[in-house]
């Protein structure tokens, strides 16, 4: 049902996806090249200057300690984004594998997975995470690992229910009848049909992780005070909204733009990949 594409013109329905992709690529590049692009040392203080609004010297102004907000944003992209990338990859890998095994093999593994995910859905997970990491004095890495575990149940359930419906389809019976091994059927036959969902899960997990991880930083959990990080910057600079609003609003906007772009891309990739495939979900 793809709209006809005239010449090299881009079909209007693909514009949001393309914009999102460009935004994410730019943000990724900035994350990688941040240290070389930053005009100031993100840690360099200038107590005499204090918090000032945007100007010629400081593109986005400075914070209470006179540190350059723009440089801190560039540096802060690393902790803000690299953790979520690991979380998204970890959650998706864990969730897809366990979900596929549970849904396709059923049996004891499935029973355990269902009980575990039921339990995790029934409790306010993020709240418990805040408390556990906060009290144990956990580090950034602890938070990343904990978020992988916390995010996996959603993926497990989604993939499991898809695997359950796929295994009822005749092509799986046909593969079994031919004597193909379970592993081959699962990973070579069923998994490719779940590609749209797995890809969109990856991006949605990234969004979840981005918000959760920066939320932890915002609460002062996970990263030591003073680290340049988007969530931490919001926390530190929310009291100087009157002096230099950009110090807190800019990281908010960056987090939101990244999250929106990833969500839209997830939607579009799902639509694109599932076009023409009869997925009975």
């Amino acid at each position: 049902m793809a709209a006809p594409v005239a010449g090299s013109r881009i079909a209007p329905r693909r514009v949001p996806g393309l914009i999102s992709l460009v935004v994410l690529v730019v943000i990724a590049l900035v994350t990688l090249l941040g240290p070389w692009l930053a005009p100031y040392d993100p840690g360099a203080q200038n107590a005499a200057l204090g918090a000032v609004g945007p100007g010629a010297d400081h593109l986005l102004g400075t914070d209470n300690l006179g540190r350059d907000v723009f440089s801190r944003l560039l540096a802060g992209a690393r902790t803000a984004l690299i953790g979520p990338i690991f979380i998204a990859a970890g959650t998706t890998a864990l969730g897809t594998t366990l979900g596929l095994l549970a849904g396709f093999r059923r049996g004891w593994l499935d029973a355990i997975m269902m009980r575990l995910t039921d339990l995790m859905f029934a409790l306010p997970g993020l709240l418990i995470l805040i408390v556990v990491v906060g009290i144990a004095g956990g580090s950034y890495v602890t938070a990343v690992v904990a978020l992988i575990v916390l995010g996996a149940p959603v993926d497990i359930r989604v993939i499991r229910s898809l695997a359950l419906s796929q295994r009822e389809l005749a092509y799986v019976d046909a593969a079994r009848t031919m004597g193909l091994s379970d592993r081959r059927i699962m990973f070579r036959h069923v998994l490719p049909n779940l590609a749209p969902t797995v890809t969109s899960n990856l991006l949605l997990s990234f969004v979840f992780a981005l918000i959760a991880l920066s939320g932890l930083s915002f609460l002062g959990i996970g990263l030591p005070a003073g680290t340049p990080d988007w969530g931490l910057m919001i926390q530190e600079n929310r009291t100087i909204l009157d002096l230099n609003p950009w110090a807190a609003v800019a990281p908010v906007l960056l987090i939101t733009i990244t999250a929106v772009a990833a969500t839209i891309l997830g939607d579009k990739v799902f639509e694109r990949l599932s076009a023409g495939k009869e997925l009975t979900a």
Binding site: L169, T177, M178, G179, L180, H189, G276, E278
Partner: protein, 588 residues
């Protein structure tokens, strides 16, 4: 003709400017039963929906629909609501989706009774009795507590609660078992007669239409190709398409020498707007069929056809060599031997001591309705399900618990028996090309038996270029051919066909059945044909086994069982097949 109740003229249905139903005329007189017949994609159901004013919001209707003189196209919801239920009733296909899961059967009927009548329990019970439900407690049951047949009866009672003058029945029995289909159709005919109500019956089954309807209108690619009295149409079709459909129909009374399908597939209405819609598939096409759209012309008393030419009679098939089966002498013992096979799911008994024997190259039919255990039996033989008891021997090897044999042993045995599944839309992996699917299967055959993909495709009558396509590009019939090719690529000794044509149109079904017969006679592959359709089983099997509640109740040579059934249930099954043959249509 009796008083005119419904007059549809120049009806169109479009999706985003593209015509799906194009210039349809239709007249239904009061008390008359009219059949609207067509294969999938013919636009018959959309025509029905447009008449009821209930098209999905993405579709728009044009032209004119007049009911007792009132124009319904473009009428406001207020006007339409007065007609719906009270004057025009609609019955839909799927009894599982038609009833509100949160309301009881009685509530459905009570809420549909016209305002001003007593909506009490007595009235509901009376309405239930009219549709053959004598147990008044059914009124308190929820849809999920009722069988498919019961749901459809409740739905009929609800649709008729407003005492409509016209009932539009859109494939009302397609989702039901053969014997239930028969009962529901008879119920409809009885109610139609006792109420003197008009019925517009939408169906894909010519035999049902000929049997129940006074007049029949054949639709194809969104337009009408032929219309006229049932009897006249059945005995002397005035359009090559009608003739093709009739020739493609398998008959339960005899085995056709050759099953003739219609080549090609149904085009989209918009693609054939300025030509004869059937021209691309027509055997007697002339040049002007492609340049101009033929108008409906009067053939004889009230018969219309959209063909410019007289229909050439079906080419009579020369010398009928009785269809050979590849059955071989069983010097090496039977290919498949099933003894006392049992299967329980919890408390429910699916198979209750089934014995079965198939010789090499033999064609055996396994007949039964849903719940008979026929699919469970097939799945046991394929090693997809563990039997609870009894034994299965395949080629002299014990395969009762095939699933639990060592992997190497399974790889050896499994290629012996392959399967063609019912639903072509799910039987191919959508993520793999046809070529990859076939190559994977071929790699499982013994080395000396391996065939290249092109050759396998040729075997099922598909061009080798299809190897590059993915399944979503194929039609239902083509997918089923690929599924057969995949099974054959493994070089099985036994091919199990689990209702392989149940979801295909008749014209396509004939092709697939003919293909399976050829496969048997030329490759010597034994067939186990699982079906509920007696007319089909007559065409492709030598012997049949009738299954009821997990037990074999009758077995024997196909022709003799169907001609003179021994068991009461088999008799009922045979009686439920609409009896029509091209030469002698009969009405109820």
């Amino acid at each position: 003709m009796r008083d005119e109740l419904l007059r549809v003229s120049g009806l169109t249905v479009s999706l985003a400017g593209r015509r799906i139903v194009d210039d349809v005329d239709l007249v239904v007189g009061s008390g008359e039963t009219v059949g609207l017949v067509g294969e999938s994609g013919s636009g018959k159901s959309l025509t029905a929906r447009a008449v009821a004013g209930l098209l999905p919001p993405t579709l728009t209707a044009g032209g004119s629909v007049r009911f007792s003189g009132t124009e319904l196209i473009g009428a406001s919801e207020r006007v339409l609501r007065k007609f719906r239920g009270r004057r025009v009733g609609l019955l839909m296909q799927d009894p599982f989706a038609m009833l509100n899961p949160l309301l009881t059967a009685g509530a459905h009927i009570a809420e549909s009774l016209p305002r001003g009548t007593r909506r009490d329990r007595q009235e509901v019970v009376r309405r239930l009795a009219e549709v053959g439900i004598t147990n008044p407690d059914v009124a308190y049951r929820y849809p999920f507590q009722l069988s498919g047949g019961m749901r459809q009866r409740v739905a009929i009672a609800a649709a008729l609660a407003g005492d409509p003058e016209l009932l539009i029945a859109d494939e009302p029995t397609t989702a039901l078992d053969a014997t239930i289909q028969h009962e529901i159709m008879q119920l409809l005919a009885r109610i139609q007669e006792s109420r003197g109500m008009a019925v517009l019956l939408i169906t894909h089954d010519l035999r049902v239409a000929f049997q129940l309807c006074d007049r029949v209108q054949v639709m194809y690619a969104g337009r009408v190709l032929e219309s006229g009295a049932s009897k006249a149409l059945a005995t002397g079709p005035g359009h090559p398409y009608t003739l093709g459909l009739i020739s493609a129909l398998p008959a339960v009374e005899r085995t056709a020498v050759r099953l003739e399908g219609i080549p090609g597939s149904v085009p989209r209405a918009a693609d054939v707007a300025c030509q004869c819609a059937f021209a691309d598939r027509c055997g007697q096409r002339q040049d002007d069929c492609l340049t101009e759209r033929p108008p409906l012309r009067l053939l004889d008393s009230g018969r219309l056809t959209a063909c410019r030419y007289d229909v050439a009679p079906a080419a009579s098939v020369a010398a009928p060599p009785s269809v050979p089966s590849a059955r071989k002498s069983s010097a090496n013992g039977p290919l498949l031997l099933v003894e006392g096979l049992r299967k329980k799911y919890g408390q429910a008994v699916a198979l209750d001591g089934v014995d079965l024997r198939i010789e090499p190259g033999e064609r055996l039919g396994l007949v039964g309705e849903s719940g008979s255990g026929k699919t469970t039996l097939a799945r046991c033989l394929l090693g997809l399900v563990d039997p609870s008891g009894g034994s299965i021997q395949l080629g002299g090897m014990d395969t009762t618990r095939l699933r639990h044999l060592p992997a190497a042993r399974q790889r050896e045995i499994r290629p012996l028996v392959q399967c063609v599944f019912q639903d072509p839309s799910t039987s191919l992996n959508p993520a793999m090309t046809v070529g990859a699917t076939l190559a994977e299967a071929a790699a499982l055959a013994a080395e000396q038996d391996r065939r290249p993909v092109g050759e396998v495709l040729e075997l099922v009558g598909l061009p080798s270029g299809y190897a590059k396509l993915r399944p979503h590009r194929l039609s239902g019939g083509e997918k089923q051919r690929v599924a057969i090719a995949r099974a054959l690529a493994v070089r099985p000794a036994l091919l199990i066909c689990d209702e392989p044509t149940a979801s295909l149109d008749v014209s396509v079904q004939a092709h697939i059945l003919e293909l399976l017969r050829t496969v048997n006679s030329e490759l010597g592959t034994a067939l186990l044909f699982v079906t509920h359709d007696l007319a089909v089983v007559r065409q492709v099997t030598d012997r049949i086994v009738v299954l009821l509640h997990g037990k074999v109740i009758e077995t024997g040579v196909t022709a003799s069982v169907l001609d003179s059934p021994g068991h009461d249930y088999t008799r009922r099954l045979v009686a439920s097949v609409p009896t029509f043959t091209g030469s002698d249509a009969c009405t109820i």
